[in-house]
Symmetry: C2
């Protein structure tokens, strides 16, 4: 553990690398800006070394001085304590040690980026004065990464310790993702086994499987909520979202001087933002229509070609809709995504958390449509209404007619029959094929591309004999083995610098992409798995690979991410909840509509399906879902997670200690008995005289006279006893007899 | 304000009165116990005076010593601070003052009741050793109460200040109730006006009214949630539920020594409790069946008599079902209530909060059934299915036959027609008549009864010449003007003591009853008001009176309640939310079913109602409701209530001050520049020699060599500038040309 928190030997104790691009700019301002950068770093206690990056960039290596780092950690912990994230007041700065590598890196990153008034160097990559600073990143710990990859490839499950290690290296945000993935994987075992049995014995659309699946979704989501609390207690990040960082892009409407805090703060009225947020409704509609139109059209073409068309080239034409979908949908998604980002910018959020949440919601809308709409169309439009809709596909016949003779063109409509396996095949496509393709696109292809590119460049350079003199274009170039010709590195550093140059070239890692992928995957399970109960089996296998490949991606294909703290997987949790809710509706509908013909899939006789019965099924299923969810939630809140209990006990103990000390301080005082409550004064001449004197002094004050009748508790007791005895108590009389 | 916090002159500075019954017990233990009581009080610093109560009780008057009270308040505030309820650390005990009368009384009550290890007298009324202590209550402030009643009867709305005053007198719990009532009243103005217009122009079952009403319900509930946050910030009770008081009745399964806190604590496993909680399901079913059977039977009898029966005595027989309902339902409710209480006891909650929440849920189930089932039956069973069900009412004809001749007995079935006004009349009954009856039963009747009883007793006593010698029976007796014959009170105290004896006789006030009443009332509005849009008008008038009469009830018919803190109206809030949700379903169904025949009410043609259309209406209505609610919730969380903002600003300020001080302490240190980061050392012979020496010393350590290449930021900047200038930058070359 102790070695973990020190800067790494293999990385020459480098904490962070700052990539400084000077390519396109004038040389003089670039040099001036570099001076400013180095001075700012030095001011906050960061030592720096400059080396050449590629042709148009410098690499500034940064290392924190121990003393300043300790103080920064202390400050960060004091802030945590004040915000209630830590229970105990931190020890003094001099004796502090970073607990984990992630804490160390997080604090240094904060030193580099946070504003000057908070004691940082205020370096904001790609923004404002610091446009030349294109990236700030720590270096990978290659050896440990490799060791872990090797270990995990032999394990079924990661241990809690492994997850702690991930968190210690990459921060809580990445730690939460891997923990989620791990929990999800572990939870998938049950539906995989159960789904396999159901598939084997009952086939698709079995009520038993559907009910169990819905219940499983509820329990998983609620379990994860509880697990989040547990993890955030274990990793001491509970309530960390309270410490919010302001967005630099935030444009306040007016500056207001807060009377209570005495600070000038930018204000943007919430009502105004809400007006802008209303634009989300047309945006969602636009997304639905744009993507819906593409998907529905391609779908219609596909049906036309595969089931109606009989003309020439059918074997080739069948690929048209697939090609159309896979080219048009991503394009449209990208367009919508850019609209969403612009809309989100326009909504002008004050904190980056709020910004991220809002963007995530928009991303979710787009993803929901692209991922699930095709299956929705098949299940709830094609199957029940095909015989009504298909005749309208004549439109395509008109398009086709010029090219082929009429009798060839289309099989007779009476011929038309719904393809009963279509729905199932589509679900299989999305839950197996698409997952594999996604994995390849996400992990393997970039890796190959990156290698190929490096090889090509090295080859090119070797042929040219020396680097191409086009540094001004700023294109990235760094040979794999850093031939000594290109840069005049000191020979002992050459290998290290080559590695850093390679890392600088990589793209940034964004954990939300991975979370989104998992969330969408969960959606297939919740919404459509009754169609094909092997879905969880496929996901179980996929996720075993996914966990490893995501780690591989972070280590090999991305720059090491700056550790971020977090106490949740964020808005994706709401998406999971939402999907499981929608699942209760779609599953019920699927089962009601198709449960009769499990062997062959639905054959779509709309007369079979009674509207009221379908709706009643949905109504009951949904409300049953909500009731069960309520019960599960209630049960979960009562089962306190172990770390949370420990945390609460700690907090309690801290309070109790403090309270005890006040109580003790107080009982110390008590020795001087106050106001003579305890002792009943001896009735002597003096005291009687005193009483009389007091009574005459305060004679007019009826209140004091009331309270002076009995002095001390013993006297009150005597009076009370007198009253009790004066009562002619029947019982006593009897007993005495 | 200052006078408010002092003990009242008119109450002779009495803080609390403890009613001590010795009636049924042996005299000796009663006297011993009294001594113990008085000693315990004196030990915690409470002065006491004993006076006679009625024949079988004593009144122990209690006053807190200033010094001990201050310390108790200090301790309470420290606890609040530790639990995060207060932001600022409290000032020292010596300079502390109770802020409000409620705080003063609350702290004294805590001193009397809390366990010894927390510094209290551990007196637990009606429990364990203290069975003789039957009540602990503060005295009413008659004058202020009267003044307020007079003032409010002339006002339409209570001001914020009035609500603050209520809170200062009666504590936050009562304050929350009145604030809720006030908010509800204020919010009712809109639907009252709108409902009246709709009733006038559109009649019943108008879609416009229904939509507006649902929207209003959402906004009201969400507004109140926000208002709760605001109030709890204003009254400094935010998070007060964190300070939980343990229930004395809690039976731990085992005692566990908590390793971390080192305390022996009673533990009752949550899983075991959950198993017991599952009993709630059969309980809810039992309640539904028992009450449902009674209501449905009476309903059927009523229909039979009023619409089928034509025999003799019809005018009288028509009252039978009403009599049956109003005698059987309360009886059954009471039985169920006692089952619910026993079930709740059995569930063995650790804290009184948890106990109350659980009990409230059960009470809500019973109330839901008794209040809404009759209307449900009319709307969703009688109207659509009457022509199917009515023939089965023949059963009753068999009962009737022996008594009357056959041709008389029943009108021909073909004759039968649904009474179109029945639903509306029923709604009017529940929302107008029942409210008035409820008001009378709750406020006027007890008041009259109480007066009559006192008069009767006084009369009785006057006739007998002296008190009846049956003190052992413990019957309550206290004449209105305390005739000097009965007790030998000092004459100057006689009037005061008579008043206290009267107050001791009164019942306890429970705020949840009043909240329940309002919650049920809200339910009629949310669920059934489309039937008769004048419902909110009736409620508006009713609630104006309700607010005043409830205050009257607290002041005149109940003992003054011990102030309780609270930051919410508790589980009733969930009930409101739930009712408004159910309202979205019932309203939609009502409007769909009956909107055609608004003039005459539904005439129930089941063929008119299409199952699928009804269900689709409900489905859309409900989901629209959920979406709108989500949007309103999102909007509400963004509009921060003013007091909450102030509280946040305060907290922020406190943190900032602390952080600034650490930051300042630190920059003080900075003057000794650490590790030579700032100055670039002059390159002199010495420094070069030094470098060489160092390099040779650490020659093997590549890390140190890496970091020693550039010394100070200025040198790094020079190296960087060198690299930049060395690049053959095309731009620069061009510019220089």
């Amino acid at each position: 553990m102790a070695t973990e928190t020190r800067p790494l030997e293999s990385n020459l104790h480098v904490d962070y690398v700052i990539q400084y691009r000077f390519g396109d700019a004038d040389q003089t301002p670039a040099i001036e800006q570099l001076e400013k950068l180095l001075e700012a770093l030095a001011k906050v206690g960061l030592q720096s070394e400059v080396r050449q990056g590629d042709e148009s960039s410098l690499l500034v290596f940064v290392r924190a001085s121990t003393k300043r780092l300790k103080r920064a950690i202390y400050r960060s912990r004091v802030r945590d304590w004040l915000y209630g994230i830590r229970n105990a007041e931190p020890e003094p700065a001099s004796s502090i040690e970073p607990l984990t590598e992630a804490e160390r890196l997080r604090v240094i990153s904060h030193m580099i980026t946070c504003p000057q008034e908070e004691g940082g160097a205020a370096i904001t990559p790609n923004h404002g004065d610091w446009k030349n600073v294109t990236a700030i990143f720590p270096l990978h710990d290659k050896e440990t990464n490799k060791k872990w990859m090797r270990q995990w490839s032999r394990k079924t499950l990661l241990s809690n310790d492994d997850l702690n290690q991930i968190r210690n290296k990459f921060g809580e945000s990445v730690g939460f993702y891997f923990s989620f993935l791990q929990s999800y994987f572990r939870f998938l075992v049950f539906p995989a086994v159960f789904g396999f049995s159901c598939w084997f014995f009952l086939g698709g659309y079995s009520i038993v499987y559907t009910v169990v699946n819905c219940l499983w979704c509820i329990i998983f989501v609620e379990y994860w909520k509880r697990q989040e609390v547990d993890l955030s207690c274990r990793w001491q990040t509970k309530g960390v979202s309270a410490v919010q960082t302001n967005r630099r892009e935030f444009k306040p409407e007016k500056e207001v001087r807060d009377e209570s805090t005495g600070e000038v703060r930018g204000i943007y009225p919430a009502t105004k933002r809400m007006q802008r947020q209303v634009l989300q409704i047309p945006f969602a509609l636009l997304a639905a229509i744009a993507l819906g139109a593409i998907i529905a059209t391609c779908f219609a073409i596909e049906i036309f070609i595969s089931e109606l068309y009989n003309g020439p080239f059918k074997t080739y034409l069948i690929f048209i809709p697939t090609i159309l979908v896979s080219s048009l949908v991503p394009t449209m998604s990208a367009v919508l995504m850019s609209i969403a980002t612009r809309l989100n910018d326009y909504e002008n959020y004050e904190t980056s958390d709020a910004y991220d949440v809002a963007l995530t919601q928009k991303v979710f809308v787009i993803n929901f449509i692209t991922s699930y709409l095709p299956i929705f169309l098949t299940a709830f439009v094609y199957v029940p209404f095909a015989s009504l809709i298909v005749p309208y596909l004549d439109v395509f016949r008109l398009t086709v007619r010029p090219f082929v003779s009429k009798e060839h063109a289309v099989s007779k409509q009476s011929h038309f029959q719904i393809d009963p396996a279509r729905l199932r095949n589509q679900v299989i496509y999305f839950t197996v094929t698409a997952q594999i393709v996604g994995f390849a696109m996400e992990t393997i292809v970039p890796y190959l591309k990156q290698h190929a590119l490096r090889k090509y460049k090295a080859f090119n350079k070797a042929r040219n004999g020396k680097p191409e003199p086009n540094g001004g274009n700023g294109d990235k170039e760094s040979p794999e083995r850093a031939p000594a010709v290109s840069y005049d590195d000191p020979p002992e550093e050459a290998k290290f610098l080559a590695r850093v140059r390679n890392e600088a070239e990589l793209s940034e890692y964004d954990v939300t992409d991975d979370l989104r992928e998992m969330c969408i995957q969960f959606g297939y399970l919740a919404l459509f798995s009754p169609t094909w109960p092997l879905v969880p089996v496929s996901f179980l296998i996929n996720n075993w690979v996914e966990l490893r490949s995501d780690f591989f991606k972070i280590c090999m294909e991305c720059r090491r991410p700056s550790p971020l703290r977090s106490d949740t997987i964020g808005p994706w949790l709401d998406s999971l909840s939402f999907l499981s809710w929608v699942g209760s509706i779609t599953s019920a509908a699927l089962v009601y509509m198709f449960s009769g013909n499990a062997q062959h899939g639905p054959n779509g006789e709309p007369t079979d399906i009674k509207g009221w019965a379908l709706l009643l099924t949905i109504f009951f299923s949904e409300h049953l879902y909500l009731i069960v969810r309520y019960a599960v939630q209630a049960a979960m809140t009562r089962l306190e997670p172990p770390n949370s209990r420990r945390e609460r006990a700690e907090r309690y103990l801290m309070r109790k200690r403090y309270l005890d000390s006040t109580l003790r301080a107080e009982t110390g005082d008590d020795d001087e008995k106050d106001e003579g409550l305890m002792e009943s004064p001896e009735i002597s001449r003096t005291s009687l005289e005193e009483d009389a004197r007091r009574a005459s002094l305060q004679g007019t004050d009826s209140t004091e006279r009331f309270w002076m009748r009995q002095r001390g508790w013993a006297e009150s007791a005597k009076v009370g006893a007198g009253i009790i005895q004066a009562q002619p108590a029947n019982d006593n009389v009897k007993k005495e007899q």
